[in-house]
């Protein structure tokens, strides 16, 4: 790694932070702390997208994952368990199998990436313009996009049907 480039330093800092934050997500015994560190990990991945010049993806990541999904997590935790203040036991009997699965997944992903690219220099891509992303989605990938939105709509309606209890008449 070329340490004379500022990007590499930033990548190193962000990556180490993300690894630490992700570890806390798994290890923490407090649901709220785990969810908040998940915010840190997701913020780190948004930062990496910014380093790659993909502002729009970073923005979507922040808006959708941090602004909506994590908030929904926290909201759910606060409504249901209300673990105010001190930590509450949050452990699992399957922690060693889970660790094994995590390490194996990492090995497969890292191994395949190294085996495929090796030391090859990947050509840098300049910053992606938002209008280009829009054009790509709505011209080239318009059918998959519509299919995805249809599936999401169906899931939404399904969720409402399952959750809602109509008063018995």
């Amino acid at each position: 790694m070329d340490l004379s480039v500022a990007q590499n330093w930033f990548f190193l800092i962000i990556a180490l932070f993300m690894v630490a934050a992700s570890l806390v997500v798994v290890i923490s015994r407090n649901v709220m702390h785990a969810a908040l560190m998940l915010v840190g990990a997701l913020g780190g991945s948004a930062a990496i997208f910014i380093l790659l010049g993909a502002e729009f993806v970073a923005g979507v990541l922040v808006l959708v994952y941090i602004g909506a999904i994590i908030v929904l997590f926290l909201f759910g935790v606060m409504i249901t368990r209300v673990p105010i203040g001190r930590a509450r036991s949050l452990d699992h009997d399957n922690r060693w199998p889970a660790a094994a699965v995590a390490i194996a997944t990492f090995a497969v992903l890292a191994g395949s990436a190294v085996a495929f690219f090796g030391d090859e220099e990947i050509e840098g891509v300049s910053a992606v313009r938002t209008s280009d992303i829009g054009a790509t989605i709505f011209e080239r990938f318009v059918v998959p996009f519509e299919v995805v939105s249809f599936v999401l709509l169906a899931a939404l309606i399904g969720g409402i049907v399952l959750a809602r209890k109509d008063p018995e008449s």
Partner: protein, 332 residues
């Protein structure tokens, strides 16, 4: 390498200058709004309001209040989750401060004219929900928790119409860039408020009042039932940070609304490179006055009325607004 007054400035030096300038603009815009809230609110209630601090009109009252907060003890409740409790106000502050980065004061006077533009503002401002939830939960207090929950429910509900109202502007301007949106309005000759986005502006304004927890949407802070909501346990400096973040939010949202709907730094017959910042400041002042006026005139809504307004009225209307805007854009 950016040229500024024909001098090339090192990137990192420029970065520090920009950060200081953004903070300065934030504070400079903040104090008049706080004083305005105190004075206008007082006169609307037939009071005089701050009178002594500073000598004339009590102009130094916001600064005196700030100094008072600095002197107070920073209490941390024993039942609280200390770390989360301490970080929450700063998260809220940062998410509000970051909004000032993309506000254009003139065609060149902008910290960064991101290609992402307004979308960056929407993404960053969604972090404030997190700060409010953290504050509400970590205080270890029932009132704080209920206040935090109410705030989160409210922000989730009103974020949708806010984003949807902005989409109308983006369709009409054809760009996300803040400078691009203002230029589109200057090119058209009239601001978008007159030029087809009046429904969008009303929805944006109502939704941003709710996002800022301003009356009539201040249920999370309803002092008659929840003490002070998620702010109950905060004191001293951390309370001051929350307070500043609220008023910085008013300035930021007014500036963004001015840029999107009122033509930003542009005004008929005035050269934007010279008068841009003053034109924008005047528009921000008008919108901030409107927010203060509403606060002292309207009673608080009920929780179900608030949710009904968002889900049954604002969201459908803003969807229709997008559809109509898109049709006009395609046809004309």
């Amino acid at each position: 390498m950016t040229t500024f007054v024909a001098v090339e400035i090192n990137f990192y030096v420029l970065l520090v200058i920009k950060i200081l300038a953004v903070t300065g603009v934030m504070l400079g815009g903040l104090l008049p709004v706080i004083l305005g809230e105190l004075k206008i609110g007082a006169h609307m209630q037939s009071r005089v309001g701050p009178y002594y601090a500073g000598g004339r009109w009590g102009w130094a009252q916001p600064m005196a209040d700030g100094l008072k907060f600095f002197q107070k003890e920073d209490l941390v409740p024993a039942a609280s989750d200390t770390q989360v409790y301490k970080i929450a106000p700063y998260l809220l502050m940062v998410s509000t401060l970051a909004l000032f980065v993309i506000i254009p004061f003139s065609p060149d006077l902008i910290a960064v004219d991101l290609d992402l533009g307004i979308f960056f503002a929407l993404a960053i401002s969604s972090l404030s929900t997190l700060g409010v939830l953290m504050a509400g939960w970590s205080s270890g207090n029932k009132y704080s928790l209920i206040g935090g929950l109410r705030a989160a429910a409210q922000i989730i509900a009103y974020e949708l119409p806010l984003v949807l109202a902005v989409i109308g502007v983006v369709i009409q301007a054809g760009t996300l860039s803040m400078v691009g949106i203002v230029e589109a309005q200057i090119e058209m000759g009239v601001p978008f408020l007159i030029g087809g986005q009046v429904v969008g502006f009303v929805i944006f304004f109502i939704a941003s009042l709710a996002e800022l927890n301003r009356t009539p949407f201040d249920l999370p802070l309803a002092e008659s039932e929840l003490v002070m909501g998620y702010l109950t346990e905060y004191s001293g400096f951390r309370f001051a940070v929350f307070f500043l973040a609220e008023y910085a939010g008013i300035v930021a949202v007014s500036a963004i609304a001015s840029t999107l709907f009122l033509g930003g730094y542009g005004f008929w017959g005035l050269d934007p490179t010279v008068f841009g910042p003053f034109v924008l400041a005047a528009k921000v002042g008008i919108l901030a006055f409107l927010m203060i006026w509403i606060r002292w005139s309207w009673p608080r809504m009920r929780e179900d009325q608030l949710q009904t307004l968002a889900w049954k009225w604002l969201i459908p209307i803003s969807l229709v607004n997008i559809m109509v805007t898109a049709i006009f854009k395609v046809v004309f």
